[in-house]
Symmetry: C2
Subunit: 313 residues, 2 copies
């Protein structure tokens, strides 16, 4: 059976000016053993190496916007994948201008990639489906920043229904897949077993939302409502609320308010301004509003555990 992992690994927690041992933004998602990279600041390939990730396994990269701290590591990663002999296609989703930037630099370096590189233009439209495969559906969020900026919601695909152990003897082998998919069982003698009598509901679908960079933006709430984990930038504390407003970033309190309004499971903060030596202050500010808050740390993995459904004893 395929893995049902759903992990978010933080590769960088810094803001525009890297400092204090913080790296620019990048996150690696492992969803059912498929790897997705979200943003790719300078040095991301080094971070991946440090974390022991074989980055040839990354199939899809999502770039939120074209501020350097969110994408300047992409060109080097594309190039390293080429030098490492990648043959699998790579899909990169990002602002329309990204294709021009990547292509210009590939041409300038005289590089003809050995693998197919697909650069898909993404517009920040709330709820628009960007990517869909057997494991995950990715939708866009319209973040509020100085340049067009897209957030992403990752929703895993629904698992198959579980076979009840006490009834599994009833089901012929060749019918198991159909029953798992929700069909009733009709035996050769005409007996009908309802699906509900044979199976347990699949665990609830898990989801993760990524909101960086953005000002306080309540319009996001319906699109991230109820996600298991929300990553929301928290560049400043409330003391610098004016600076946050000017630069279209968020305070930790604002991130917590969004988490609270959206009723998310857990809130993960990041994109910390280099002026904060420690993140305690940011964390405390958010927890006062939304207690289930964590501050992301370089290299740390945040798994979203599978919740067992009520019927799934």
């Amino acid at each position: 059976m395929a893995s049902r992992r759903f992990d978010v690994q933080t590769l960088g927690t810094g803001a525009a000016l890297p400092a204090r041992g913080r790296y620019p933004t990048s996150q690696l998602l492992n969803i059912h053993d498929s790897l997705f990279l979200v943003d790719c600041g300078e040095g991301t390939q080094e971070r991946l190496r440090e974390a022991g990730i074989n980055f040839l396994r990354i199939g899809h990269i999502f770039i939120s916007h074209l501020h350097g701290d969110h994408y300047l590591g992409l060109q080097g990663l594309i190039s390293s994948m080429h030098l490492m002999g990648r043959v699998q296609p790579l899909h990169v989703f990002g602002p329309p201008k990204l294709k021009e930037i990547v292509d210009l630099q590939l041409r300038a370096s005289g590089t003809y990639l050995r693998y197919p590189l697909h650069l898909w233009p993404v517009e920040p439209t709330n709820g628009a489906v960007i990517h869909e495969d057997t494991k995950v559906t990715v939708t866009a969020l319209r973040l509020k920043h100085r340049i067009p900026c897209t957030g992403f919601v990752f929703r895993e695909s629904l698992a198959l229904r579980g076979l009840r152990r006490d009834r599994s003897a009833v089901i012929p082998h060749f019918k198991r897949q159909a029953v798992k998919q929700g069909e009733d069982l009709v035996l050769p003698d005409g007996t009908v077993h309802s699906n509900a009598s044979l199976t347990t509901a699949p665990p609830p679908v898990r989801s993760y939302a990524y909101c960086s960079d953005t000002a306080f933006e309540p319009e996001l709430v319906p699109y991230i409502a109820g996600v298991d984990l929300l990553y929301h930038e928290a560049t400043f504390t409330e003391m610098l609320a004016t600076r946050a407003k000017e630069t279209l970033h968020s305070t930790a309190a604002q991130a917590a308010r969004i988490a609270s309004m959206a009723g998310v499971g857990e809130l993960l903060l990041g994109h910390f301004s280099s002026r904060y030596k420690h993140v305690n202050e940011l964390l405390a500010e958010a927890r006062a509003i939304f207690p289930a808050t964590r501050a992301s740390e370089e290299g740390q993995v945040y798994p979203i555990p599978e919740r067992t459904g009520v019927e799934n004893l």
Copy 2:
């Protein structure tokens, strides 16, 4: 009196595919307390931070060519300088396409730099003067690579002549600068002291040549003849001479042959392929031909000491 330092600091010794703790190419030159950056692979700003360098002090950056491992850290460095409040102009010398790449990415990020950024197109013409100021003259080398690639020779300006301690009483204060500059001393009573009787020759001018990336290219020899320190790439050993030829890189032996033909003071190797776990093999191969060879190491500083002239006792 201004510092007469002439230091080369290696920030990265790796080749195209960073690995084994090696970083992509970049070097920091301190010439008389002016800082010059030569190439700027991904993560160079992080290397500079690790080395404790205030990179706002860098006034000039020289980019050899547009393979990613030699320039992908430039955009992030330009951006960080902006965020750190730089106001001093920055001069970047590189292939003509570099301006297009930098400008495109500045536009895409909506950045209006607070400091003047000058991107000067450089053609790889042997001996052509690229930059000249009171401390240094930089000339170009035509390297032999898959895409246009420029090497650089840094020559310090000639120091003033030294005043002989035993004769300094003869020279009126207001005449000292003129005598240091080589003038004879004419006293009010008509007495003439020849400059040679009052001064010692300045120490010989020091020079550094940077040759990366390049195939074996004897045409460089007259332009790097006699430099104190030659940095020459040594991507492979002779065992992979065919691979070196195909990729227009050099073997360690070829680097040593160039050093020998040019009669340089010392040879510094770098740009090591990630297939070499240790550099001993590359170093041994070069030393067999040119004994005064060193393998560059991440973060290491290679000072070029001032040689005392014969007359300068």
